[in-house]
């Protein structure tokens, strides 16, 4: 009898294995990303007094201004990124790989470090600075330019990946009858519109959530107003909640736009197809376009070089920052490695489910989208509401809260990377395993994981980088004495010695570069099947 019951239970578990595995990943997503949003919705009645802010019209103006700035930044990033993506993806410019690398690297850094670099270049006392250049820098135009340049590599990279993945025969058929410009804009670009839609969503979302650059350049934006009411001189948590709740409809709108224009199409964008052919010849346009592309790439990298220079010019030597660093790099790495590992694991399970058409996984993917497009300030306030209580002090008072925040905000990154790779793996490989008697867990571990090891590694690396560069989520709830490096630099930026702040910035650049190099080397060692 007991044996029969045991057998029945074992069969039942085996039959629901895929659901149980997905449920494990779902718990992580629900606990980190969904609970804070639910908590915010339940707090709407408590924020009634705070909504008085909106009567004055100032809050509305601030909201409108933030949307406009984000829109302008997105437009600038598209204007730079689309042609550059076509060039580095398919054109015969010299050194296009190096060009792509130099242009893309700033994308992996916190944007306020780039702003800091521009400050040391164009600020009043900067290397090339003057009063005029400083006044442009510390303005809305300066903000849009810096963020546009910082986020342009998102567009460049997605467009370049998109055009490299296009079926070669489409391009070759067009090349028989049209020049390279015509082929690029009439054939390649329309074929990568999912990449453009994805890039637009990502850049707008990142810009709207951006806190460090607007605060540094003293440009008033909505997330900064929330931050000021949570920890600054304007401390007023009720008003912060009201401001945050006003952003929820925007998060929902962005979510709906993502569902309509991107969603599963993003799989076509970040694919792993290698179809590189002979690059399109630019003919007489080659030299001027190559010069322009290299100028943009060098402009992207200029603030990093300036940071290095500024850190080196210190009366206490280039390592003066060491006394100021405390445990911040360790805090950053610990939280980022833990979060990236959880992101890669859950992303693998959910991403596989999404690629194979599981409805449960599709719902989880949608929730991850909602968490990603929700402004960081909104998610941060929700996380504080959920975890800031005596019973959960072991999370809120430790580095665990950083891990929770990172997992909430960046779950989508890992899910989409894995979903994209798995959707390009022949489903018959899994069907053959299932027909041979392998259950869901065995198929995932023995067939899907080895065949997608590179993509899972890439998801881990991307998750790690997103966590390392994060400021706007962590700054709202980092534990006492456990601040990550971004927060450390950001808090010193206002009053710390300039060479020290620049030195800490260089340290961050170094850590990011080492992580990227080691991560890429490890991924390259995973055999590509």
């Amino acid at each position: 009898m007991v044996e029969a019951m045991g057998r029945a239970l074992s069969t039942s578990v085996r039959r629901h294995e895929s659901l149980l595995i997905l449920a494990g990943a779902a718990i992580l997503l629900l606990a980190t990303a969904v609970l804070p949003l639910v908590r915010l919705v339940t707090e709407i009645p408590d924020a009634i007094d705070g909504f008085a802010l909106f009567r004055s019209g100032r809050a509305w103006r601030l909201l409108g201004r933030s949307i406009l700035l984000s829109g302008a930044t997105t437009m600038l990033a598209l204007c730079i990124g689309v042609p550059l993506g076509l060039i580095v993806g398919r054109m015969d410019v010299p050194g296009r790989r190096a060009l792509w690398l130099i242009h893309a690297f700033p994308m992996f850094l916190p944007p306020f470090l780039i702003a800091l670099g521009w400050f040391h270049l164009l600020g009043q006392n900067g290397f090339l600075g003057s009063e005029e250049s400083a006044s442009v820098l510390f303005s809305a135009a300066g903000l849009v330019t810096i963020l546009g340049l910082t986020f342009a590599p998102v567009v460049t990279s997605l467009v370049a990946l998109g055009v490299r993945g296009i079926d070669v025969s489409l391009e070759e058929a067009a090349r028989l009858v049209a020049g390279p410009g015509h082929v690029a804009f009439r054939i390649l670009l329309p074929a990568v519109w999912p990449a453009l839609a994805l890039a637009t969503t990502v850049v707008f979302t990142l810009t709207f959530s951006e806190l460090g650059v607007p605060m540094f350049l003293r440009v008033e934006v909505f997330p900064a107003a929330v931050f000021a009411r949570l920890g600054g001189v304007d401390y007023a948590p009720g008003e912060a909640l009201a401001l945050v709740l006003a952003l929820l409809p925007m998060a929902v709108l962005l979510f709906l736009l993502e569902r309509k224009f991107v969603s599963r199409r993003s799989f076509e964008v970040v694919g792993v197809r290698g179809t590189a052919t002979t690059p399109l010849s630019l003919g007489r346009w080659r030299t001027p376009l190559a010069a322009a592309a290299w100028a943009v790439a060098l402009a992207s990298a200029a603030p990093i070089v300036v940071l290095f220079l500024r850190a080196g010019i210190s009366s206490n030597g280039p390592f003066a920052f060491v006394d100021w660093v405390a445990g911040a790099p360790f805090n950053s790495l610990l939280a980022a490695v833990t979060a990236a590992t959880l992101l890669a694991l859950s992303g693998f399970v959910i991403g596989h489910g999404v690629a194979r058409g599981s409805r449960f996984a599709a719902v989880l993917d949608a929730l991850a989208v909602l968490a990603f497009v929700t402004p960081a300030a909104v998610l941060g306030v929700g996380l504080i509401g959920v975890w800031n209580r005596p019973q959960t002090g072991f999370v809120y008072g430790t580095a665990a809260i950083l891990v929770v925040g990172y997992c909430a905000r960046y779950a989508l990154v890992a899910i989409r990377v894995v979903a994209s790779a798995v959707s390009q793996m022949p489903v018959d490989l899994e069907r053959a395993a299932a027909a041979s008697g392998a259950g869901s867990g065995r198929r995932l571990l023995r067939i899907v994981l080895p065949l997608n090891a590179r993509s899972v590694g890439f998801a881990w690396l991307l998750g790690m980088i997103f966590c390392l560069r994060d400021l706007e989520t962590a700054v709202l709830f980092y534990p006492p004495g456990g601040e990550p490096l971004t927060v450390r630099i950001f808090t010193l930026e206002a009053n710390g010695p300039e060479p020290v702040v620049a030195g800490l910035g260089v340290l961050h650049v170094g850590i990011t570069a080492v992580v990227l190099v080691l991560g890429s080397a490890f991924i390259a060692r995973c055999t590509r099947w």
Binding site: L429, A432, A435, S436, G439, R442, L451
Partner: protein, 251 residues
């Protein structure tokens, strides 16, 4: 009475609003080799997916060894519990596993003890003449060798039935002939029940005890090659033989 090894009863199936099968019924006896022949896009692979368990019939019933495994939109027995083997058109050999690894994975999944596993792998590879290639990866083999690994992987697990989803369609004529002879011999030796789907009448003639013609989502004729040739039931069946005769040229 012995229950058929595979049985589909009044099966209706499709994708979204597109109806692929409408009232298909087919029974395959133990040890019998049946070829399902039909035009491209006619639903042959849908039948394979239904039998394997990757699709449930919207209406109707699928039974294996007399036990209903799916009926009226519900999958009752998942693919991994049906004890079937399949060779897909693209073979679906796991590229990260060696030839030995491909066969071992199947036996491990079935819980076969290690010693027995090794013996069965050696025997299976010997039958297809590949025992010197067991440490090779699929990417290191020729097209014909990969076909032999695929059939070997299907047979090593001693399945209740083997399903072949056009595995010979991408081969040149001499290689195809060679493998058809090998397949026939292997299936006869192992007394396997086989459901082979194809659009090639010559392949059907070579490999099937019986040929079932799938047209407009149902079986329109079912019999031996000779019987079909003698009395084609529909213009499509007639056209198959006319094409074959045209290829052979005037007598």
């Amino acid at each position: 009475m012995v229950a058929p090894a595979i049985e589909l009863v009044d099966v209706h199936a499709g994708y979204c609003d597109h109806v692929v099968l409408s009232g298909l019924s087919l029974a395959i006896a133990e040890g019998e080799s049946v070829v399902l022949l039909g035009p491209s896009g006619g639903g042959k692979s849908t039948v394979v997916r239904l039998v394997l368990g990757f699709l449930a019939p919207a209406k109707g019933r699928v039974a294996i060894g007399g036990q209903t495994v799916a009926a009226d939109g519900r999958t009752l027995t998942p693919p991994e519990e049906r004890n079937l083997a399949v060779v897909f058109q693209d073979l679906a050999l796991w590229p990260h596993l060696t030839v030995h690894g491909n066969l071992a994975f199947v036996l491990e999944s079935k819980g076969v003890p290690r010693a027995d596993r090794e013996r069965r792998i050696r025997e299976a590879l010997a039958r297809v003449g590949l025992n010197d290639k067991e440490r090779r990866y699929p990417g290191e083999l020729s097209g014909g060798e990969r076909q032999r690994v695929a059939i070997s992987r299907a047979l090593v697990q001693d399945p209740r039935a083997v399903l072949l989803d056009e595995p010979l369609s991408n081969l040149d004529a001499p290689r195809k002939r060679e493998l058809m002879v090998m397949f026939r011999q292997l299936f006869e030796e192992s007394h396997s029940t086989v459901l082979h789907v194809t659009h090639d009448l010559r392949e059907a003639a070579a490999l099937g005890d019986r040929i079932a013609i799938l047209e407009n989502g149902r079986i329109v004729q079912d019999g031996s090659f000779a019987a079909l040739r003698e009395q084609p039931a529909t213009p499509f069946v007639s056209s198959l033989f006319e094409d074959l005769d045209a290829l052979r040229g005037p007598p």
